[in-house]
Amino acid sequence: MTKLLEVNNLHTRFKVRNGYLYAVNGVSFTLDKGEMLGVVGESGCGKSVSMMSLIRLLPPAAQITQGEVLLEGKDLAKASASEINMVRGSKVGMIFQDPMTSLNPFMKIGAQLCEGIIYHKKMSRADAMKQAAKYLDLVGISNSEHRLHEYPHQLSGGMRQRVMIAMALLGEPELVIADEPTTALDVTIQAQIVELVKELREKLNMSIIWITHDLSLLAGMVDRIMVMYGGSVVEEAPLDEIYKSPRHPYTIGLLKSIPSIKTEAGSRLPSIAGAPPNLFVEPQSCPFAARCAYRKERCTKEIPPLEPVSGAGANPHHRIACWVDVTKEPAEPKEGGML
């Protein structure tokens, strides 16, 4: 398969009142054409910021301090503003989390859908509208001609998210970044959207990065999963690998703490003690060390690199950032942790 995207050692930080917030600290990954990558992690671990950094869709306080983002070989991190504009919306489409706030309540659906392609494809308004209607049909919105003339508030949450998807697809992008597109939706609606995306992916054959904090959601959907913690990637592996043989203590803890059919009802859930770190200091060690049940001396001193797992029968595509080999070390519950 051909490589679409290659991200190397990406660092993004925010200028905050007294110093910096180190939101993304050295994220690297690649994405093939047509591949679907899942990004999981808890709130604030840098999922959105790292993915937004790809197309530099960041608030003014943010700065990308290091790293390169090669989209089809071209480094977006160093591209000019207008070059970036040509990528956004045409090569890379975005779907955001909250369909309630992500659509402009002051503009009709049609106008919002069209403006991107009118600009990028130099289409006439009428053509653009036709195109938009086609895509609304595609994402399963009936009566699309009519919907184009409605305002977002006239649609339900699920419909709005479909509109967002149509909007991302209109530019016929090669990569779609979906930032928790179902978090704000109900399970039944979430199921609708998930099915829709699967379907579309087959039809349109694009690459997708799907951000979520719900590990279970990805199980039936993606090809590969990347787990983030404290601004870094801690584990990355093909789908089954992650669920069946997780290797990073954080991933392990996370999977265990999700109640599932297999967990015994009424039993205590194994939980990860402590809370995620705040990112006001640049990490100098494994970000998870403070909560890690396998913590070793080294974990609090050095940042582990993201490297393929070792050991017999190890999948070469399975990479973790950990100094400890959990298959060999016993877990010893650690008390406390930082706030």
Binding site: E42, S43, S156, G157, G158, M159, D186, V187, T188, I189, Q190, A191, Q192, E195, H213, D214, L215, S216, L217, A219, G220, M221, L239, D240, Y243, K244, Y250, G253, L254, L255, S257, I258, P259, S260, I261, T263, A265, G266, R268, L269, P270, S271, I272, A273, A275, P276, R291, L339
Partner: protein
């Protein structure tokens, strides 16, 4: 214990809560939100009743109305035989110490201008739970109970993380020795890795203080883990109530089925095999709910009759109650399908 031996602590009968609102650009038109409409169920002493349903279906309203934080429009809520709905504000206040609530969002449930200690002392003072000189000791005990260090008592809420705040909210709910706690999505605002901590805590204290829970959530996995029985709600109505195992094994209502099939499982193998039932359309509007069975516009099995008459909850054995007119026909159809296959 068999259920017959258990006695209901809370008996909700035909509970209705409507919210009058104004709509339109000038607020000139009046309308009514049918938040919950004729809901009846029992909660037995010592059990956890899970309440699930989609956003806006009236779960929170049910919880609030049971505690009469929202005064009910009609119907009754019997708490050990006392109808809370008929109590005056004063009388109600006295009952408040027996029934408490934990809210969804721990960030906005604590008064940012009160220390943790003050927040915990408040219910004790209001209900004169213990002499003033013992309050401090009790606060320390409570804080320890929820797994925090007692020296946090004189700190302010903003110094705590979400999970810790939720612990404090639980401590506050415990402060007046309640028998019954409504947990209104107590974990859905928390980080994944923290959720399990709180679930554990809730189960621990339930055991320790012999509490009864109404556990509201939209995350079926969590409800499955913590509840004894589960009620499924749709647009202000209870669609199905059953023992947990029963419900998961034998979901009867089409909506329950769809709901269960929509819950993702953290296992690629299961997911690959799973056949999702995808519901059409969106949840209808509570201002103008559909006639008849509220679910009929989205139901694959709906007939004209479903649009006409409102199904009542009926017992299908073992306390498994379902509100569906076509349950038998559906069972038949399914059987045929499986046979076809």
């Amino acid at each position: 214990m068999t259920r017959a031996a258990k006695q209901p602590l809370v008996k909700v009968k035909n509970l209705v809560k409507y919210f009058p609102i104004k709509i339109g650009a000038f607020g000139s038109e009046k309308a009514v939100v049918h938040a919950i409409d004729d809901v009846s169920f029992d909660i037995f002493r010592g059990e956890t009743l899970g309440l699930v349903g989609e956003s806006g279906c009236g779960k929170s309203t049910t919880g609030f109305t049971i505690l009469q934080i929202y005064r009910s429009t009609s119907g009754s809520v019997e708490f050990e035989g006392v109808d809370l709905a008929s109590l005056s504000k004063q009388e109600l206040r006295a009952m408040r110490k027996r029934a408490q609530i934990v809210f969804q969002d721990p960030y906005s449930t604590l008064n940012p201008r009160m220390t943790i200690g003050e927040a915990l002392a408040e219910p004790m003072k209001v209900h004169k739970i213990c002499p003033d000189n013992e309050i401090q000791g009790r606060i320390a005990q409570l804080i320890r109970d929820v797994g925090l260090n007692p020296n946090v008592a004189n700190r302010y809420p903003h110094e705590f993380s979400g999970g810790q705040r939720q612990r404090i909210c639980i401590a506050r709910a415990l402060a007046c020795n309640p028998e019954f706690i409504v947990c209104d999505e107590p974990i859905s605002a928390l980080d994944v890795s923290i959720q399990a901590q709180i679930i554990n805590l809730l189960m621990d204290i339930q055991e320790k203080y012999n509490l009864t829970y109404l556990f509201i959530a939209h995350d079926l996995a969590v409800v499955r883990h913590i509840s004894d029985r589960i009620a499924v709600m749709y647009l202000g109505k209870i669609m199905e109530i059953a023992e947990k195992k029963d419900l998961f094994k034998r979901p009867l209502h089409p909506y329950t089925k769809a709901l269960l099939s929509a819950v993702p499982e953290a296992d690629p193998d299961i997911e690959r095999q799973r056949q999702r039932i995808i519901l059409k359309g969106d949840v209808s509007n509570a201002i103008d709910p559909p006639s008849g069975c509220r679910f009929h516009p989205r139901c694959a099995y709906a007939t004209d009759a479903c649009a006409q008459s409102v199904p009542e909850l009926e017992d299908y054995g073992d306390g498994h109650q379902v509100a569906c007119l076509r349950l038998d026909e559906i069972a038949m159809e399914e059987k045929l399908e499986t046979e076809d296959a």
